[in-house]
């Protein structure tokens, strides 16, 4: 059984790589961008699910964390010449003027800086609970955005950064998404994951079992921030240009939508819904445009697809309270049982 699973794992990894390879060969740049965004949203969805879904901390500061990650990686990868062109209002702070890192260290640094910010925000804010925590983290997310708008010599303020090297490709996004999935699976299976879930279920009981609430909450929050920073960094270097207004609350809302639709506390659910939501967001752009039915022409309403998504979210919350997957996970055991139970059953009858 263990061998079968190992083989299945290897087959699915090869299939994933093959699929990405085919995408790279056949898709145009528009479709490639969607594939990239899917990968990034998988990372972001998982990071928010770690905080909100597994540890039960209602945090809404994700856009702020992404901003920190995107700016860190952006400033580190931007070439000195481009920096001079970007910072024409005020010169850039001297210690960043000459740096130009390659992508991997910049990504790691983006994660670390965001984790540090996450820790600094989390340590005081995690004393709060439920909606109070949501308000506090939402506030911090907005504060980060406003600060970035005003630190002209560090972030170039409202002008944003342009001409970022577009290092991000599907191998980076899906590679890191894959690592994130593996990390989450092992984390949740392990004793930390159990402690996180115990805290989500009942803080008092968890504490009585000897689980340190503060340590585990801050840990989950910091790890979530790290992943959000990496996701933001990938996004920045995918789009090539970032500005503080990208990281408004709606961005957090999109990620929250993914987590809720997929199932709070399900890794599989988040991965599926990240892909579905990202693809749907693009293909539902039709709704924003004018629709010509031949006999009647409906004028396009910008933002119509967001209305559709909000409706979708309401329907999910009303009828599928636990999202697509609830807190269940896809496992090979489940897959083999579902698919092959009938076959093995027939065999037994024959014998």
């Amino acid at each position: 059984m263990k061998n079968t699973k190992r083989i299945l794992n290897i087959i699915s990894i090869i299939a994933l790589i093959g699929l990405l390879f085919i995408f790279e060969q056949t898709f145009d740049s528009y479709k490639m961008r969607i594939v990239n965004l899917c990968g990034i949203y998988v990372i972001l969805g998982l990071s928010l699910n770690l905080i909100n879904g597994f540890t039960g901390l209602f945090s809404l500061g994700h856009a702020g964390f992404m901003a920190v990650g995107a700016y860190t990686a952006g400033l580190l990868t931007l070439s000195p010449a481009m920096k001079q062109m970007n910072f024409f209002m005020k010169p850039i702070v001297p210690f960043l003027a000459e740096v130009e890192w390659s992508f991997l260290p910049a990504l790691i640094m983006a994660g670390l800086v965001t984790a540090l910010i996450g820790f600094l925000i989390g340590a005081p804010a995690l004393k709060l609970r439920d909606d109070y925590l949501a308000i506090a983290t939402l506030g911090f997310g907005e504060i980060i955005r406003v600060v970035f708008t005003n630190t002209q010599s560090l972030t170039n303020g409202a002008l944003g950064l342009k001409g970022l090297p577009t290092h991000t490709n599907i191998w980076w996004t899906w590679g890191i998404a894959f690592i994130t999935i593996l990390f989450m699976v092992f984390l949740i299976k392990g004793s930390y994951g159990k402690a996180f879930k115990a805290i989500r279920e009942d803080e008092i009981a968890a504490e009585a079992m000897g689980i340190s609430l503060f340590k585990h909450k801050v840990m989950a929050f910091t790890m979530g921030a790290f992943l959000a920073g990496v996701g933001g960094a990938l996004l920045g270097n995918l789009l090539g240009t970032i500005d503080p207004n990208m990281f408004r609350f709606t961005l957090t809302f999109n990620i929250l939508l993914i987590v809720v639709l997929g199932g709070i506390g399900s890794i599989t659910g988040t991965v599926i819904s990240a892909v579905v939501v990202t693809v749907a967001m693009e293909y539902l752009r039709v709704l924003d445009e004018a629709i010509n039915l031949g006999f009647i022409r409906i004028e396009g309403i910008p933002g119509m697809r967001m209305v559709v998504f909000s409706l979708l979210l309401m329907i999910v919350i009303l009828f599928y309270q636990n999202g697509l997957m609830g807190s269940n996970e896809f496992t090979w055991d489940w897959f083999l049982e579902k698919k092959f139970l009938k076959k093995s059953g027939k065999k037994e009858v024959k014998q």
């Binding site: 879930k197 115990a198 279920e201 009981a205 009585a208 079992m209 000897g210 689980i211 340190s212 807190s327």
Partner: protein, 236 residues
């Protein structure tokens, strides 16, 4: 084993415990009875380090517990089965039990204790894959006790284990407490069900608005006129 001396606890402006003395010798069942708000749960929370005390000492096996965090106190072999069960409803029975052993590292010992708990509560074994929140109140209480045992406690403290249970189940819970005691665990039992707890207790304390007003052997307290009047509902 555990000795509480002159313990005072303040919650904001409320003086919840006013200098209580409690002695828990090894291998005994000690009970603490009293009405709502007398300070019973506060006493347990103070022992676990969940509530800070303002004065007094808690000595456990010769050292003060006050300087330790909850996590360390659990590792030292004291565990609390909290009031109202407080199991983890969306986790399976087995996951609940594994979390009970969170402070332990010895895998073999944990597996052995899991068997022991399943032996004590066969119903939990039948339902090991069920989500804990879907079980009945009595089963959840058994799970809460089982989860407490998973930390391999020397001192098991129970906060109102009979709360909200049918009379038949209350009987079952109390016989299980006796069984756990027979296996060598010291028990501190907090109850509103004074009769049932005094019957199995070696020694009892009566707590009233933060002070101990009466103490004595379980059987003596059962026949004490004041206890009868206030807690056993046998007015003359």
């Amino acid at each position: 084993m555990l000795e509480i001396k002159n313990l005072n606890v303040h919650y904001g402006g409320i003086h919840a415990l006013r200098g209580i003395h409690i002695d828990i010798p090894e291998n005994k069942i000690i009970t603490l009875i009293g009405a709502n708000g007398a300070g019973k749960s506060t006493t347990l929370r103070s022992i676990m380090g969940l509530t800070k005390s303002s004065e007094g000492s808690i000595q456990y096996q010769g050292e003060s517990l006050l300087k330790y965090k909850t996590k360390d106190i659990v590792e030292k072999g004291i565990v609390l089965v909290p009031e109202g069960r407080r199991i983890f409803p969306n986790l399976t029975v087995e996951e609940n039990l594994i979390l009970g052993a969170y402070s332990r590292k010895d895998k073999a010992g944990i597996a052995k204790d899991m068997e022991r708990v399943y032996e004590l509560f066969p119903r939990l074994k039948e339902r090991s894959w069920q989500k804990a929140g879907t079980m009945s109140g009595g089963e959840q209480q058994m799970l809460a006790v089982g989860r407490g045992l998973m930390s391999k406690p020397k001192l098991l403290m129970m906060d109102e284990p009979s709360l909200g249970l049918a009379p038949l189940l209350v009987k079952e819970i109390f016989s299980i407490i006796k069984e756990i005691h027979r296996q060598g665990v010291t028990i501190l039992l907090i109850e509103q069900n004074a009769k049932a707890s005094l019957e199995i207790a070696d020694y009892g304390y009566v707590l009233e608005t933060g002070s101990i007003v009466l103490e004595g052997k379980g059987k003596d307290l059962l026949t004490n006129e004041e206890v009868k009047k206030a807690y056993l509902g046998e007015a003359k």
